[in-house]
Amino acid sequence: MENLEKILAQHPFFKGMPPEHVAYLAGCAANARYNPGDFIFRNGQPANQFFLIRYGTISLEIFVPGKGAVMIETVQEGNVMGWSWLVPPYRWHFDARALELTRAIVMDGECLRKKCAEDPRLGFELMSRIARLIEERLRATQLQLIDIYGKD
């Protein structure tokens, strides 16, 4: 557990978080490894995990009938992935597939929700960080949507 706590504290997502909060959250964490081609989760499956990527690359994909898998984003070392564990009905809305050997810390969503409910200060801290990520992702999606490199 001590190792996981250290790894969590070093991940950019937890940078600057009070050590007691990191220690408390480490109880929800586990190490994971994915081989190239492994699906980490698939669209429609229950979403109960939050991923902190330590190494490797993951492709977030939407399957479009007739077109195949469309990659919407890649996430890499230092990134985090997934917030569907936060919002009912807790289901993934895309597929996540490892493009190369990937190592991650996987945090149990139910455990995180429980700890946030028990300690509202921790909950606010965690939600603020996730809100920042959502804002960044939304901004990136807006740029992708307006097709900045298009002709018009």
Binding site: M71, T74, Q76, A140, L143, Y149
Partner: protein, 278 residues
């Protein structure tokens, strides 16, 4: 032959080669057709290319500044003149005026890390910078190229990117806005590459070229990393006609982009960028 002086008179240049880059982008290599040639250019400058009887357009020079005689222009077919240019063949003659405008701060960049951020066709005006950085590699700190493209099929200068990527003294990261399963690289906007790039924000020069909105967000991200605005340069694009600051078509606030630009230090234009009225 000495360079001609009148900046309004085009000189005839013969098309030596036409290289298809992507579905709508191509590169023309031009050589003087009648002996006279335009003067030497600096990385970031542009020429006015004229198809007789069709029209004239400003196009950045995408070739190596140290190669004299030849002019290389990478062009995207988006309007009537550039579409007509796309149909040109080797051996045909076009008019060239130039070189015009300001250039990228390569001298100032010496001794510093250099971060080159390009989006779409914005890689073309930065290619002369990359040629120079590679040629005089020992004069610069870390050299980082971050390039964003719409799809893998729209990536420009693939062979050169691959060559640069294989160098141990250069960091090249490419991302696309969307891709299908065969693509093994990054997917996402180019600004996402900036926080991961290994440069010293307090000792670097950033050169950014692409759509204005992409440059705007890239600069925000550079500033988030701690890069001072006076170390960030962008290349602006407007409707340039005379190219010597007479006609006013490319006026941008207090500047004529053809003359004071296209390359600006970011703090010169910061208050103008993203203004609906300008």
């Amino acid at each position: 032959m000495a360079a001609r002086q009148d900046p309004m008179i085009p000189l005839p240049y013969r098309i030596e080669t036409v290289q298809r880059e992507t579905g709508d982008t191509f590169t023309l290599t031009l050589v003087p057709a009648a002996g006279d040639q335009i003067g030497p250019f600096a990385a970031g400058q542009f020429n006015m290319l004229y198809i007789f009887g069709v029209g004239e357009v400003p196009i950045s020079i995408s070739g190596d500044p140290s190669e004299s005689g030849k002019l290389v222009h990478t062009i995207r077919a988006v309007g009537s003149v550039t579409r007509a240019m796309q149909r040109l063949k080797a051996g045909q003659v076009i008019g060239v005026r130039g070189p015009f405008g300001s250039s990228w701060p390569l001298e100032q960049a010496q001794g510093n890390d250099v971060v080159v951020i390009a989006g779409g066709i914005g890689l073309a005006p930065l290619r002369p910078v990359l040629y120079t950085l590679v040629k005089y590699r020992e004069r610069f700190g870390k050299v980082i190229l971050l390039y964003g493209s719409r799809t893998p099929e729209d990536i420009l200068f693939r062979r050169e990117l691959e060559k640069w990527r294989q160098r141990f003294d250069m960091e090249v990261s490419i991302t696309v806005d969307r891709a299908t399963g065969r693509w093994r690289g990054n997917v996402g906007v180019v600004t996402k590459l900036i926080p991961r790039a290994p440069f010293d924000p307090y000792s670097c020069i950033a050169m950014v070229c692409g759509p204005e909105i992409m440059m705007y967000y890239s600069v925000l991200s550079l500033k988030d990393q701690g890069v001072p605005t006076e170390c960030i340069y962008i290349s602006m694009e407007r409707n340039m006609k005379c190219a010597i600051g007479f006609c006013g078509h490319c006026q941008y606030g207090p500047y004529f982009i053809c003359k004071e630009g296209p390359v600006f230090r970011y703090d010169q234009v910061e208050s103008l960028l993203n203004k609906r009225e300008i």
